[in-house]
């Protein structure tokens, strides 16, 4: 069956600004998980819409219990496709994003519609829908729950990243403070150190048995 989520977001910038930022949003301080970004198809249709396909590589850290279901070489990153249609006449942008790696284990498809906010014409509204499913027998429920939690977390990061890029485009100082950046850096360093310690410990353990 899978899970379906729907939510709306608001950016206090014009639709034009949001579309411009959409193509310039990587890298930003909230996109450390995005490793590469490429346009692999682009065309202006006869009806004057811009259609594009973007290929992204993202790190995909699965929880420990899930890792054993992944082939070894695939545990580090995942390929994502993001198709989009920008319609400058209707002032709409539609995107469809989905993973082409690990799709049997977990598939996440997200559809976003960016349009002018009806109450305030200089703001942009994002209607976001997502479908999360897994066809892994016996574990699909647990994996979908995990996928849903991670999706919600990534929506927050996407919006923060967007706001950051938009404010930088307008020459403002992004709202993220230096202290905030420092705290996050420290946390990441601590996490990396912990992982390394675990690795060393397991190596040491293996050696004992040799």
């Amino acid at each position: 069956m899978g899970k379906y989520v729907c939510c709306t977001g608001l950016l206090k910038n014009t639709w034009d600004q949001v579309c411009i930022a959409f193509w310039q949003r990587y890298p930003n301080p909230y996109s450390n998980h995005v490793l590469t970004e490429d346009i692999i198809f682009r065309e202006v249709t006869p009806s004057n819409c811009l259609i594009s396909r973007r290929l992204l590589t993202k790190t995909s850290r699965a929880p420990r219990w899930m890792e054993r279901y992944l082939p070894k070489h695939m545990t580090n990153s995942a390929y994502i496709i993001e198709d989009s249609v920008v319609d400058p006449q209707k002032r709409t942008m539609t995107t469809l994003t989905w993973n082409i790696s690990h799709a049997r284990l977990m598939s996440v498809e997200e559809r976003c519609l960016y349009q002018i906010n009806q109450e305030n014409g200089s703001w942009t509204e994002i209607k976001r829908e997502a479908w999360i499913s897994s066809s892994l027998y016996g574990l699909s429920r647990a994996i979908q729950e995990f996928g849903l939690a991670r999706f919600k977390n990534s929506v927050t990061k996407t919006m923060k990243g967007f706001e950051y890029v938009l404010s930088r485009m307008q020459g403002e100082t992004p709202s993220r403070t230096l202290a905030e950046t420092a705290t996050e850096r420290a946390r990441e360093t601590a996490m990396a150190a912990k992982e390394k310690a675990k690795d060393l410990a397991s190596h040491a353990q293996k050696k004992q048995y040799v």
Partner: protein
């Protein structure tokens, strides 16, 4: 931002720069007078499509706006 093909990042940067200007200053304003980025796009694509083949990234035959067609509308 890096390209998936390490050798393509510089070509990508050149293209992105050209595209971003065209998109903001021409496309969104309804100006349809040709695309100045065709040549930089062609060079960048030659590089990135080669990298995709070498890395066996499975993008062949994936329909545009593909997988979501049979999903229920909300």
């Amino acid at each position: 931002m890096n390209s998936v093909g390490e050798a393509c990042t510089e070509l990508k940067r050149e293209y992105d720069q050209c595209f971003n200007r065209w998109f903001a200053e021409h496309f969104l304003k309804g100006d349809r007078s040709g695309d100045p980025c065709t040549e930089t796009f062609r060079k960048y694509q030659r590089c990135v499509q080669k990298a995709i083949k070498e890395k066996d990234i499975p993008i062949d035959g994936v329909e545009f706006m593909g997988p979501n067609k049979d999903k229920p509308e909300s």
